[in-house]
């Protein structure tokens, strides 16, 4: 197991980078970060549409979220794989396909998290703010969203961890991320699949476990600091 790690650690970490495209764990993390950052604004728009009093906005956004949540991410990735080229008329890379599918998928789930946060804010606050003459948008921006988004921060960090795990599906459409890199290593070693895939599982475990614990700790500190002020 250690020999494999010694010989191929660079491939698992950054893929063929200096001589080829970036890959491995680095690409996995890039995909997860971009996936989350790009889906945040989209999720916010969907959330605003869902809590909107106008059915024109709330119905289609609800339908979108329910359909995306009802189908597997893998179907969405294949959908993006075939549909994006047809819509844009251009050949897009696996990276863009995976990122596009991840953004749509994550924004549906994140918007559910955000909606839960918005709905947990007592209605009295909206009414108080509105009766003081503050407009709908300003009430949202200055009163509701700052509290709601802060309250659901732990769920949003959880979503980030799930995104890291979901990037492993890139393997199926040959995006050069960690799982794909490990499979390449497995094809080179040929006789030790148990060790190679064991290493792969351990790497994911270390990354996700430390991130989960670390983010929990940060959240705990932030909440404590806030409570003391």
């Amino acid at each position: 197991m250690l020999e494999i790690l010694q010989e191929y650690w660079l491939t698992l970490l950054i893929g063929q980078y200096p001589h080829g495209p970036l890959g491995g764990l680095a690409l996995t993390l890039i995909l997860a970060v971009f996936g989350l950052v790009l889906s945040l604004p989209l999720a916010l728009i969907i959330t605003l549409a869902r809590v909107s009093p106008y059915k024109v906005f709330s119905l289609p956004s609800t339908a979108l979220v329910q359909v995306v949540r009802g189908i597997p991410l893998l179907m969405l990735i294949f959908g993006a794989y075939f549909v994006i080229p047809k819509l844009t008329g251009q050949v897009v890379s696996g990276f863009v396909t995976l990122l596009g599918a991840l953004v749509i998928y994550e924004s549906a789930y994140l918007s559910e998290v955000m909606r839960a946060g918005v709905e947990a804010i007592p209605k009295g606050q909206i009414e108080a703010s509105r009766s003081l003459g503050v407009g709908y948008w300003q009430t949202m921006r200055k009163v509701i969203l700052p509290q709601a988004l802060f309250n659901v921060l732990p769920s949003m960090t959880n979503q980030f961890i799930s995104t890291i795990k979901e990037t492993s599906l890139g393997y199926i459409i040959s995006v050069n991320e960690l799982t794909f890199a490990a499979n390449q290593v497995n094809n080179l070693v040929l006789t030790k699949p148990l060790q190679v895939f064991g290493i792969l599982a351990i790497i994911y475990f270390i990354v996700c476990f430390t991130l989960t614990r670390g983010l929990l700790w940060v959240d705990f500190r932030v909440r404590k600091a806030r409570a003391m002020v």
Binding site: L73, Y171, T179, P193
Partner: protein
């Protein structure tokens, strides 16, 4: 152009059948393993607790796809030659995918059961032990039936997630609905029709599970007792 031919629908339904089989088998595995883990965890003996915690943490922090690949590529190496040969002749992909999916989901299912268990007051357990019932008897007749009832709603959403996750099995060549959809698209180029049809089938499956879940929930609800 937006509609599929009958025989193309049949191929998707073939895939749907495999998806449903995979879902049923892996759900059975997940449920059984999770129940065992929950009971082991409830003994509160330190080594048993560590084992269950390690099991849960491992399966929650490693992608399900990686777990399936591990079972498919790695595990057969450990099996005796004869059994491995037999397995590869009898649809190894399907059974290994079911094992991977089942063991992975078991970690989440056991967490749901544990929260159900925590909701039952410990005094009931103590009363049952004081009346002379053994640990396993109190668990089987008093605690677990109530805890499971409480856990039904989260278990239903867990089952929905598992149903969608069965699509990962196509990565090791199981001919499920996602697999058949991709094949059909490759052959016919009817992108929107195929993906539309597959989406409808997945949504129907999800609705079916939700419907069954609510039926089970209502069936097992305690008459006159505390409602979950």
């Amino acid at each position: 152009m937006f509609l599929l031919e009958p025989e193309q629908w049949l191929r998707l339904l073939d895939g749907m059948w495999v998806t449903l089989q995979l879902f049923a088998v892996s759900w059975l595995i997940a449920f059984t393993v999770a129940l065992t883990l929950t009971v082991i965890r409830a003994t509160n003996v330190a080594p048993a607790r560590w084992f269950v915690d390690a099991y849960v943490e491992y399966h929650r922090n490693v992608p399900l796809l990686v777990q399936i690949l591990f079972w498919y590529f790695g595990m057969p190496e450990l099996l005796p030659e004869g059994f491995r040969g037999w397995l590869y002749q009898h649809n190894a992909e399907l059974s290994l995918a079911a094992i991977g999916l089942g063991l992975g989901s078991a970690s989440y299912v056991s967490e749901d059961m544990r929260s159900g268990l925590r909701a039952i007051p410990m005094t009931q357990f103590e009363a049952s032990r004081a009346l002379g019932a053994s640990y396993l008897q109190s668990m089987r007749h008093i605690i677990v039936p109530q805890a499971l009832r409480l856990a039904i709603p989260p278990l239903v959403s867990r089952a929905l997630l598992l149903f969608k996750n069965t699509s990962l099995a196509m990565a090791i060549g199981v001919a499920d609905l996602t697999y058949q959809t991709r094949e059909l698209e490759n052959e016919t180029y009817r992108t929107f029709a195929t993906f539309g049809a597959a989406t409808i089938l997945y949504l129907l499956g999800s609705f079916l599970i939700m419907f069954l879940g609510s039926r089970i929930y209502r069936h097992y609800q305690l008459k006159g007792g505390a409602r979950a």
